[in-house]
Amino acid sequence: MKKFLFKIIILFLIMFALDRSLGRLADHYFFKTRDGDTGGQINGLLEKKAPILVFGSSRAEGQYVPDVLGKSLGGEAFNAGFKGSSSLYDYALLRLVLEHYTPSLIIYDFSVQTINKSEDPYSKLYPLYPFRSSPSVWELLKKRSRLEPLFFFSRLYPYNSKLHSVMMFNIWKNRPGASNGYFPQRSVMRPVPLEEPDRKEAGERDPLLVDYYKQFIQLAKERGIKVVVVCSPRYSTGAYDIPQDLIRYLEEMSVPFFDFDLNGYPQFSDHKLYKDLDHLNDVGAEIFSELLGQKIGALQFIPALPASTP
């Protein structure tokens, strides 16, 4: 028993020393990155302090071109969309942003996947793990499970699945073509009939995520940020139903809502504008961003935007 305890203690000491030293190193290099699909992009976002922010999932990340939007709206834009994100992640990210500055306009891409039921919704917060020292982020991270804080005793755990990204983005700085969080999708979808018969049906809504969606809107409004919700194009005529209760909520909150349904916008019925059924490619994104910029500009509810927020 003594021998076992002795060896276990030695192993733990080695692990502890490695965890601390490698974790420190990871911290150092992570906060030097400004782009990346595992959280580095958030550093860029917090540094830029752009007055126009785009939130949402991969449908935001690759579809809203900040340069085009910024030009139309007269201010710097940053795309904070994140592949596979949920409304919970968006809400947590907004709270983190608000700890640093207050943007003027948020364009929030709506995608049913961001409010769909998943078995472990808090796992979607993983890009924010390195920001555990932020009180608002920590408050949400802890909610994953009672035992979750135990994992954060490790200094390396926040960098789980991120070390390669930290290394790569310290060497190459940005993803090729990435600019202000936007990551162009250069491939073109194969031609398929517009009405794809075996489209996956929209999943079951998660009341928790619907609630976070509403909290996101509410928080932004409370902080005086203008919000526009957008349902961007998909290569499908009868895509997903937008929950009526959410539309009513947006109306109650006086949040403009643009639905780029293909019936109303037939110019997006061309498969060459898509990377896949759910995502526009770079060409489609440029056209869409231009059009969206004009539509938001026509609202005339945005005050003159500064180039960037101090």
Binding site: M15, L18, D19, S118, E119, D120, S123, F151, S154, S161
Partner: protein, 477 residues
């Protein structure tokens, strides 16, 4: 409770500590309570099914012991079979057969509303049902005496390390071990922990990484080309291997820490040189179960050749159905049955071809070719196993053979980590030459051993997937 959950990381050391502090005569009580708690963490009320199954088999075992003849014992065996298989049928297969019957009748313009049994499938029901059945059948055959201690028998059915996904233990191996008096043994605890660490690595670093790519591709088959589908299939082959053998390693390791020896469940299956050999190395506890309780009672190989092939085919068909209530599993089982019979029938021809082509003079190269070909055949089977339905499976096979194109890189991070994991795993399996990780490491120098422990632990921490929703694939069976 999942092995890869934080709850288990707390649960297991507490159980082990209490186990070694507990007097020998009360240890079964502790383990039984721990096992029921382990099971109840998933869905508490389903423990009643487990208890019911335990009581039926316990009573039938005792009643069978009072009957001197097989004929007398038969009725009790039948009760045990009907109850256990009935529960399994109700929870796992009722909707499948009901839907299939409805679809078949609809072909003849006969329509009816198929009744549905709406209940969650009790986790591990196929595993503990087979374990209890092996007890009843062995008692019926007179191969063993019935267990008279209800608590020990209940522990045999519910022993937490192997309760929900095996290895499916035999009563002759496990029951006597519960009477053993095991003191803390440094060597056993060390070896058990090594196995557990290796199992965690396989599960959270390799299997769960590969899962992302496999799900992305298999979830949207029509949008992917043959090259991508082929890679996803190869990834699935390693995902399911690491997932299931990882579970088995954790199960065997955690039992070993407490002094129990569970049977080995995997032995480098992808190094098999034939499908027959694959089944001697893959899910060994299940394939030997089917051999002893299905194949041999059907007559095995001691029957005319045609009947022998039917026996082989039937055994694989049932094995496919055991895995899940879906035609894809039936097709997977049938395909392996087909492989098996073909391999038996073509053996003389293959030997002649090897001799004529000169391959027989280069045994290493010949073995390599056979290994690659066997892996290819097994992967074709995995297409049916993983596809959502038969039409998807056929579409995937069509595309693999006829639709080239650029590889979908999707989550490149997952591909990179997955490939690194596969290379490490295959390298380890190659160098270990069939030894378990504890035996293999035991022969290495201190630096290698400790380097291995640290590397495993760091990999789990930095690359492992800690998604609480990530279950083991075989839980659904």
């Amino acid at each position: 409770m999942l092995f890869n959950s934080p709850q288990f990381i707390i649960f297991f050391p507490i159980v082990v500590l209490l186990y070694f502090l507990c007097p020998y005569r009360f240890r079964w009580v502790l383990l039984l309570c721990a096992s029921y708690y382990f099971y109840m963490c998933w869905k508490a009320e389903y423990v009643l099914l487990l208890i019911f199954s335990t009581l039926i088999d316990y009573v039938m075992g005792l009643l069978m012991a009072k009957e001197p003849t097989k004929a007398g014992r038969k009725k009790y065996l039948l009760i045990s079979l009907v109850v256990n298989l009935g529960l399994l049928f109700l929870f796992k297969y009722f909707n499948f057969f009901s839907d299939s019957a409805r679809a078949a009748l609809a072909q003849f313009n006969i329509f009816y509303n198929a009744p549905a049994f709406k209940a969650l499938l009790p986790v591990g029901i196929s595993f503990y049902t087979f374990q209890t059945l092996s007890y009843s059948i062995d008692v019926y055959r007179g191969d063993m005496k019935p267990e008279r201690h209800l608590g020990i028998f209940a522990l045999y059915v519910s022993f937490f390390p192997q309760l929900v996904a095996g290895p499916i233990e035999r009563p002759q191996n496990l029951l006597p071990q519960f009477y053993g008096k095991y003191d803390f043994s440094y060597e056993r605890v060390r070896d058990g922990l090594k196995l557990m660490l290796w199992g965690f690595f396989k599960k959270v670093v390799v299997a769960d990484r590969l899962l992302f790519y496999v799900e992305a591709v298999y979830g949207n088959v029509s949008q992917h080309n043959g090259v991508t589908l082929l890679l996803a299939t190869v990834f699935f082959a390693f995902q399911i291997y690491c997932d299931f053998s990882g579970y088995s390693d954790i199960a065997i390791g955690s039992a070993k820490v407490m002094g129990f020896d569970l049977m080995r469940n995997f032995n480098r299956p992808y190094f098999s040189k034939s499908v027959a050999e694959f089944w001697k190395r893959w899910h060994i506890s299940l394939s030997t179960w089917f051999r002893d309780y299905v194949y041999i009672p059907l007559g095995g190989s001691r029957v005319p050749a045609a009947r022998w092939h039917i026996n082989l085919f039937l055994t694989f068909l049932i094995s496919g159905l055991w895995h899940g209530a879906n035609w894809t599993y039936v097709a997977w089982g049938a395909l392996h049955g087909f492989y098996f019979t073909c391999s038996v029938l073509t053996q003389p021809l293959r030997e002649r071809v090897a001799a004529a082509s000169g391959l027989a003079r280069h045994p290493r190269f010949h073995a390599f070719i056979r290994t690659v070909f066997t892996f290819f055949l097994v992967c074709l089977g995995w297409v049916f196993f993983r596809a959502a339905n038969l039409s998807d499976a056929i579409l995937i096979l069509k595309k693999i053979f006829s639709d080239p194109g650029p590889l979908f890189l999707g989550g490149f991070r997952d591909i990179m980590y997955g490939v690194m994991g596969i290379v490490f795993l295959v390298g380890f399996d190659f160098w270990s030459r069939g030894q378990d990780v504890d035996q293999f490491l035991g022969r290495q120098k201190l630096v290698v051993r400790w380097g291995f422990y640290v590397l495993m632990a760091l990999s789990i921490l930095t690359v492992g997937v800690f998604d609480h929703a990530s279950q083991f694939i075989y839980f659904q069976f």
